[in-house]
């Protein structure tokens, strides 16, 4: 907090992103396939990856599902229905090999990750890091002592190669290809992402991180992440993402499956800062077994359209699910974000805290579902949605759904929409803050419940991102 800088001029938002994250590299790729999607593309991806037959077949079936499934009928249907799937590159392999040494990564890619601060974060506080560029993880490193404790942290492709039995046991069990059109597409063409397994009782005390970078125009990035925390273990995984600024859209469509076995704890933190030409259509779901805890900490700053509703299935007694999210919608952006919790077992609890900020015509929506099955007696859930509108042009919508079929259930729901009040601004300005500084302080205060959950470095980074987005709010 208190990251206040001097006032900058109006209209610098795009320029700042362009300079800091929106640059792109020349494409000196090992392999770049043709545009468009069909069974040959799927076959090529699977062959290049030398996958087992079951995965190859899974991909082909998923493609059929994708082709036959209708578009979702909610969110931003206009944008969805205008996606030109024939114009997208589905698989780009930037380098022949993955490396665990930055010196072996091509200079231009290394420079990109340097600019994004990835090696710096790795040195300072991470237990392991995966850097994905287009379709493949180009750099991966992982602390020796965690390896010795039996923790597995790999890119998903290596995970499939090296631990086929674990992958086969859990892959697509939480999110089947049938789930929705974009989960089916990911299932057909997935590449990269993270595979994590934490053995029983192991506490991974330092966060593991993946960084996703899209470079090419009209790229489709389809990473696939699978995290399994075995009984009584703990892990915190963080992902970040950026892309260059282009005039035409790229597609990011990930599938993330998270499984907490009995007494385990998993926190999954996302700082999504895509450029405003990315369609971010992601399916994230976690299964919480007995006494386990799942926490989604989900920050959405960038993208043109995000549709993402991190979900927890509370399968075991006393399982807990928590989803804490913020969404920032600036000009031309639509953040359709939310949360889903399904209570299956008795004495389960969930908490959803959603905060959105809309500015300069941006649109933020909360879309949520809390379902308590008849089997989930004595469960409780609290939902809190807070929207902050920076000006009259911006928009916030709330679509909460609650389906309660069990007895003795305690549900709390609160929704608030507030505007940055003139009186608040005057109060802060009367203490010497400029109008922009005052507004930024109010916004930073509004998202404080979120930033305080982030590791310090990320909280600082997030405040800085919000500051960039808030520049030139006046007028």
């Amino acid at each position: 907090m208190g990251n206040i800088t001097t006032n900058k001029s109006i209209g610098t938002i795009g320029e700042d992103y362009a300079e800091k994250y929106g640059f792109h590299d020349p494409e000196e790729y090992f392999h770049k396939g043709a545009r468009g999607i069909n069974h040959e593309v799927v076959e090529m991806i699977s062959k290049m990856k030398k996958e087992p037959d079951w995965m190859r077949e899974f991909r082909h079936k998923a493609l059929d599902i994708f082709l036959s499934k209708p578009m979702p009928g909610f969110g931003d249907t206009e944008v969805l229905n205008n996606i030109d799937f024939d114009n997208i590159f589905y698989y780009i392999k930037p380098t022949a090999e993955q490396s665990d040494n930055w010196d072996d990564v091509p200079e231009y890619i290394k420079n990109t990750f340097d600019k994004l601060g990835v090696p710096d974060a790795e040195r300072k506080f991470l237990g392991g890091i995966s850097a994905q560029y287009e379709s493949e993880v180009v750099y991966h490193s992982f602390q020796e002592n965690l390896k010795e404790q039996g923790v597995i942290f790999l890119d998903m492709d290596s995970g499939l190669r090296e631990y086929p039995e674990i992958v086969k046991k859990y892959f697509a069990t939480v999110i089947p290809a049938m789930d929705n059109k974009f989960a089916a597409l990911n299932s057909a063409v997935w590449s990269g992402g993270s595979f994590i397994y934490v053995p029983p009782g192991v506490d991974v005390t330092v966060p593991l991180q993946a960084y996703f970078r899209i470079n090419a125009e009209n790229m489709g990035q389809f990473e696939r992440t699978l995290i399994i925390a075995d009984k009584g273990s703990r892990v915190h995984y963080i992902e970040g993402c950026t892309a260059p600024v282009y005039t035409t859209d790229s597609l990011h469509s990930a599938v993330v499956e998270v499984i907490a076995l009995d007494d385990a704890y998993i926190r999954y933190t996302t700082i999504q800062n895509w450029s405003n030409n990315i369609l971010n259509l992601v399916t994230k779901r976690a299964v919480a077994n007995k006494n386990s805890t799942i926490e989604w900490v989900d920050g959405n700053i960038g993208s043109r359209l995000t549709m993402k509703y991190p979900c927890v299935y509370l399968m075991g007694e006393h399982a807990k699910g928590e989803i804490l999210s913020i969404a920032f919608a600036g000009p031309g952006q639509h953040q359709d974000a939310g949360a889903k919790v399904i209570h299956f077992a008795p004495n389960t609890s969930s908490r959803i805290t959603s905060k959105s900020i809309s500015k300069a015509g941006g649109q933020a929506s909360y879309r949520g579902l809390v379902k308590v099955h008849a089997t989930a007696k004595n469960s409780k859930s609290s939902i809190e949605c807070d929207a902050l509108l920076i000006d009259e042009k911006s928009r916030s919508d709330t679509y909460p759904t609650m389906e309660i079929d069990a007895a003795n259930v305690k549900i709390e729901h609160e929704a608030r929409v507030s505007k940055v009040a003139e009186e608040q601004l005057f109060y802060l300005m009367s203490r010497g803050l400029s109008e922009d500084e005052a507004r930024l302080l109010i916004v930073n205060g509004f998202i404080e419940p979120f930033t305080k959950e982030l590791p310090m470095e990320y909280a600082v980074e997030l405040n800085r991102l919000i500051e960039l987005e808030m520049e030139g709010s006046v007028g």
């Binding site: 907090m1 208190g2 206040i4 009040a421 003139e422 009186e423 608040q424 005057f426 109060y427 802060l428 300005m429 009367s430 203490r431 010497g432 803050l433 400029s434 109008e435 500084e437 302080l441 109010i442 930073n444 205060g445 509004f446 998202i447 404080e448 419940p449």
Partner: protein
């Protein structure tokens, strides 16, 4: 003489939504002086305070205001604060998620730039909190969020103490305080008001003036200062009430 003049208001007229609220106020405050502006609700005293601080809803239609010899009226609320004006709010605003300490740091940084001395800041901050009998936990609470009336007013004085303005206008700082809180706040004002600066106490009642003896008392009725005197004027007012004064004044001016 003019060197000592902190505030000079000359024939100030203020409108809110096209309606005139302040109808020609003139006022001079010299360094080291404390003035009380008294009046009933709706007399224009809070409007005067807000207009001086640069609230955007208050339109100054004529008159001049100088703070320490500088024209105040061409400055924004931010610039007025940086120039040394402080308004203690009657109803301080709640800013969730922003801690008292961070807010004060930001306000001081706005003055001193990045060269803020954190060590010294902490030391002064602790001293002032002690003076106002504020617990340390105050620093990490969110600005006015869930504060009692008394806590809010103490926070206003804490801010004044930290920012050391040239002129502090304290708008009904006494309202909503019980007698113990009133004593603490009054003592805080006496102890931490800038010695060479000026203070304007805007109040409805005389009771705070039992603790802070004003050099001058101005009575406002219907947007005008109708009577000015020494500290005894407040006591007279307390004895006779505003009604008696209003009758006197209307007889004098023949309304």
């Amino acid at each position: 003489m003019s060197k000592n003049k902190i505030l000079s208001v000359n024939n100030l007229h203020v409108e809110i939504e096209g309606k005139e609220i302040v109808k020609g106020v003139s006022l001079e405050i010299n360094s080291g002086e404390k003035h009380a502006i008294m009046g009933k609700n709706g007399s224009g005293k809070s409007s005067l305070a807000n207009a001086l601080a640069g609230h955007p809803n208050y339109e100054i239609t004529s008159g001049t205001v100088e703070l320490d010899g500088e024209n105040l009226l061409d400055k924004s609320a931010t610039e007025r604060s940086l120039a040394g004006l402080f308004l203690g709010f009657q109803y301080p605003m709640t800013i969730p998620g922003v801690t008292v300490a961070n807010f004060l740091r930001a306000a001081i940084k706005a003055r001193n730039g990045d060269g803020i001395d954190i060590k010294n800041f902490r030391k002064v901050f602790k001293e002032k909190m002690k003076l106002l009998k504020i617990e340390d936990s105050f620093a990490t609470r969110y600005l006015n969020d869930g504060f009692s009336g008394g806590e809010k007013k103490r926070l206003e004085i804490l801010q004044m103490a930290m920012l050391q303005p040239k002129l502090a206008i304290l708008d009904e700082t006494d309202s909503g305080l019980d007698i113990d809180a009133l004593k603490i706040v009054a003592n805080g004002i006496i102890e931490s008001a800038p010695k060479d600066g000026g203070v304007i106490l805007v109040t409805h009642y005389q009771r705070m003036l039992d603790y802070i003896r004003p050099d001058m008392v101005h009575i406002m009725i219907d947007g005008r200062i109708v009577k000015t005197g020494g500290a005894e004027l407040a006591l007279e007012l307390e004895a006779g009430g505003y009604d008696k004064l209003e009758t006197e004044v209307s007889q004098e001016v023949g309304v």
